[in-house]
């Protein structure tokens, strides 16, 4: 098993919307494992690795803020068959000003977490089939027969992640639950135990663990019972019961 990496992440606002209240959004009390996973993904993701979150430490007291803001109440339509065939027609888009609506949200304020995760290395034969319609391209036959991804190893990705995280590099800006709540991060090395009790221990109820994408046409939500103990939520799949 790979080591547990630790990232410290923080930001002014965060919203981990509960599925039952995602229209007039209400956040979960703490970060969900899937949101933590997305932060690791933002720093390094390849089809060869899949991140697993083991625990989330809550470093700031849980504070709330209620905000009303404008949102758009429509999703993009798909192009018509005629348009796909290259003919012009009515635009599939829409004018946002006509679809604005004001919605309320109950968000978290001034959050700071330490998230711990490890990645699983997925050997080439177990990866999801590529969506490309073309065959894989090789420089020559030697590459194909001898060298097929011989350089690929968990250690390589571990080094890549460490290097990227240390430098603050990311593929896209990580965020705290919603894209608009940008997240700062730093790689934490060594052990930094939490000295004082910041949040009361509590039962957070059933929380979204992640979506199960096994059937891409209909991803299914998975839930786990979250407890905040010593400022820490245990999210290790190997020790938890995750129901779906």
């Amino acid at each position: 098993m790979m080591q547990d990496w630790c990232l410290e992440v923080w930001g002014e606002y965060a919203c981990y919307a509960r599925p039952e209240m995602k229209v007039e959004r209400v956040s979960y009390d703490v970060m969900t494992p899937s949101a933590a996973r997305a932060i690791f993904d933002a720093i390094l993701w390849k089809p060869a690795i899949s991140w697993h979150i083991t625990k989330i430490e809550v470093l700031n007291p849980i504070r709330w803020i209620s905000i009303r803001r404008n949102e758009v109440g429509k999703i993009m339509g798909e192009p018509t068959q005629a348009q796909l065939e290259g003919k012009s027609g009515d635009s599939a888009g829409f004018f946002v000003e006509e679809h604005r609506q004001q919605r309320a949200g109950l968000f978290l304020r001034d959050v700071r977490y330490r998230i711990y995760g490890w990645f699983e290395f997925i050997p080439p034969e177990k990866r999801k089939p590529r969506l490309s319609q073309y065959d894989e391209f090789w420089a020559d036959s030697e590459e194909q027969t001898n060298n097929t991804r011989s350089d690929e190893s968990p250690a390589k990705y571990a080094a890549m992640f460490e290097r990227r995280a240390k430098k603050g590099q990311c593929f896209h800006r990580p965020y705290l639950g919603c894209r608009e709540f940008a997240c700062n991060f730093t790689l934490v090395e060594g052990v930094h135990p939490i000295k004082e009790k910041i949040n009361d221990d509590s039962d957070l109820g059933w929380m979204l663990y992640d979506m199960n994408y096994e059937d891409p046409s209909c991803p299914k939500p998975e839930f786990f019972r979250a407890y905040l103990e010593n400022n820490t939520v245990n999210t290790d799949r190997r020790t938890l019961e995750v129901r779906s």
Partner: protein, 573 residues
């Protein structure tokens, strides 16, 4: 967590047989009229359950099988419904010909749907046969002879049935209950409920929540997905699947919330535009008394609220009366948005924590005041005295919620509160610093600095200059009042605003005027006394500031108020 806590409240209530909360699959409904039948199915009378006077007459509440969620289609409830469904007759007056025709055919459909449900869902008994026979054979001419027919015809009220010599409604009888429970037990499981974590039948449409102030009277939803953009992964067609909640959990949370929000509930409060409900995990006295801490005392029994607040102070350091400190206490603030309900705030804590914060809130407001003032100010009274013209219509929309949040969290009050009350003091030339306003400013400042910066009564050792400017102003005003009794406009009317904004521009003038006023005083001892006072006050600062910021203006107001109270209190030697 919110839904879970609500479900917890439902479970607590359901376990308590006296609570009167509906069991799964049932709801409390107002049934103004009950049709009484004999065992053969002939009409004996129509009973009027309404009480009260005039337009406020309301029917009694009965426990009936849960109603269906209706939009535009025809869908009947079981054994109770509106007159249109039960009799197939309603008032069609004022409709056009085409509408009338459409309505009439719809009424026939409605009545058929109503009878069908009884036929299909109730086991065969002689009573069922009698009821169906009665429903199929209704004649308007017979109904018209009953006393209540006029009201029923006009208002289309809910109607249910009772057999003669029975106390409960037909739908409440043992036979019907067991039949419905058996039906509920046989449902299929098709998903994981995110509230209970168990497999259950996922509810597609949730029961509407009624009683949120400002929302549609027919009810609105917390969990609803009425637009494509709300739905994940194209789950448009199966709305509830966006947030899988089992039917029993759905029933529990909606029933709990509806009962908390109901008109007679003691566990609701209106805070600004937010309807707030609160409950504790176990039965506590605190949840029953909570409203008294913030509500304006009732005119009938003004001491009731005071007694509760006093109990709060007398109860041990944390907790309330005999409630265990560690009992969880929940507060949920809801406000309407379009056809949905949005959560404005959600607080979870313990009884001890909340009691402590509320105790602190009253402690911060303590200030010396005249005898006829109320001992404790309600939240409404605080805010109304800080608003334009002292009218509750003018309380700014967000402030009440913000202040409430500060109280419950024990955090500083919003800065807008201080601005509001200072502006009001400037514009209210007649009263200026009322006791309630002074209390508010004191509470604001003490919370802001998180310590006792401002004392309850006059504090000659106060370190800030602005406090002493305020005191000086009060003394100068008093001198003028005594020199020229019955004056229409004193320096309070004319100079208060300028004095607290930029003291240097007015105080020299006021001190010059003072000399003229003091000369007029007949009692020379009094004059000397005043001069001595002024010397004492001016010894606290070197110079008049050119400008006071908001906090200093607040201290000015408090200094003025304290000094004035002190001048009017007889001194014990």
């Amino acid at each position: 967590m919110i839904l879970q806590a609500l479900k917890g409240y439902y479970d607590r209530k359901a376990a308590d047989s006296e609570s009167g909360i509906s069991p799964d699959g049932w709801e409390l409904k107002e049934i103004p009229f009950v049709v009484v039948l004999n065992e053969n199915g002939s009409l004996i009378q129509i009973e009027d359950t309404r009480e009260g006077e005039g337009t406020k007459r309301r029917g009694r509440y009965f426990s009936v099988p849960q109603g269906v969620k209706r939009s535009s289609g025809v869908a009947a409830n079981l054994l109770w419904d509106t007159a249109g469904y039960v009799f197939g007759i309603t008032d069609l007056e004022g409709l056009g010909e085409a509408d009338k025709k459409r309505k009439l055919s719809r009424l026939i459909e409605q009545k058929k749907a109503f009878i069908d449900r009884i036929q299909n869902e109730i086991p065969d008994t002689p009573r069922k046969k009698a009821l169906v026979a009665f429903l199929s054979g209704i004649e308007q001419s017979v109904l018209e002879k009953t006393l209540q027919w006029d009201d029923i015809y006009r208002t289309n009220p809910n109607i249910s049935f009772r057999f003669d010599h029975e106390l409960m409604l037909y739908c409440e009888t043992e036979g019907i209950r067991t039949a419905l429970v058996a039906k509920a037990g046989s449902k299929e499981y098709d998903g994981l409920c995110l509230v209970s974590g168990e497999r259950d039948k996922i509810s597609v449409l949730h029961t509407a929540i009624k009683g949120v102030w400002g929302a549609q009277s027919s009810g609105a939803n917390i969990v609803s997905f009425n637009q494509d953009s709300f739905c994940s992964y194209g789950r448009r067609k199966q709305q509830g699947w966006n947030a899988p909640i089992g039917e029993s959990a759905m029933f529990a949370y909606t029933t709990a919330l509806n009962s908390l929000l109901s008109r007679d509930s003691k566990q609701r409060m209106q805070i600004g535009d937010t309807s707030t409900v609160f409950w504790s995990a176990k039965k506590t006295q605190f949840e029953n008394d909570f409203t008294y801490f913030f509500a304006e005392p009732s005119k009938d029994n003004p001491d009731e609220g005071i007694n509760h607040i006093r109990t709060l102070f007398d109860s041990p350091k944390n907790g309330y009366v005999e409630d265990p400190d560690s009992t969880n206490f929940f507060l949920l603030g809801l406000s309407p948005n379009a056809a949905r309900i949005s959560v404005r705030f959600w607080r979870r804590g313990t009884v001890g924590e909340f009691a402590g914060h509320i105790r602190q809130y009253f402690k911060d407001l303590e200030i010396v005041k005249p005898k006829n003032e109320p001992l404790y100010y309600s939240l409404w009274r605080l805010l109304v005295n800080a608003s334009i013209q002292d009218k509750s219509d003018n309380i700014p929309p967000n402030i009440e919620g913000d202040v409430m949040r500060s109280i419950l969290d024990g955090t500083p009050y919003p800065a807008t509160l201080l601005q509001l009350v200072l502006r009001r003091i400037r514009s209210d030339t007649e009263n200026r610093v009322k006791p309630v306003r002074a209390a508010l400013i004191k509470a604001y400042l003490n919370r802001y600095y998180n310590k006792e910066v401002i004392q309850v009564a006059l504090d000659t050792n106060e370190s800030s200059d602005s406090y002493h400017f305020g005191r000086l102003f009060a003394v100068l005003e008093k001198i003028q009042e005594e020199a020229n009794p019955g004056l229409n406009a004193t320096i309070r009317e004319r100079y208060y605003g300028a004095a607290c904004g930029s003291p240097v521009t007015v105080f020299p003038t006021l001190l010059r005027l003072k000399n003229h006023h003091i000369a007029k005083l007949e009692n020379k001892g009094r004059a000397i006394n005043f001069e001595r006072m002024i010397t004492e006050i001016t010894s606290h600062f070197n110079d008049f500031s050119s400008h006071l910021d908001l906090h200093d203006q607040g201290k000015f107001a408090i200094g003025y108020y304290h000094q004035r109270q002190d001048l009017f209190t007889s001194k014990k030697e």
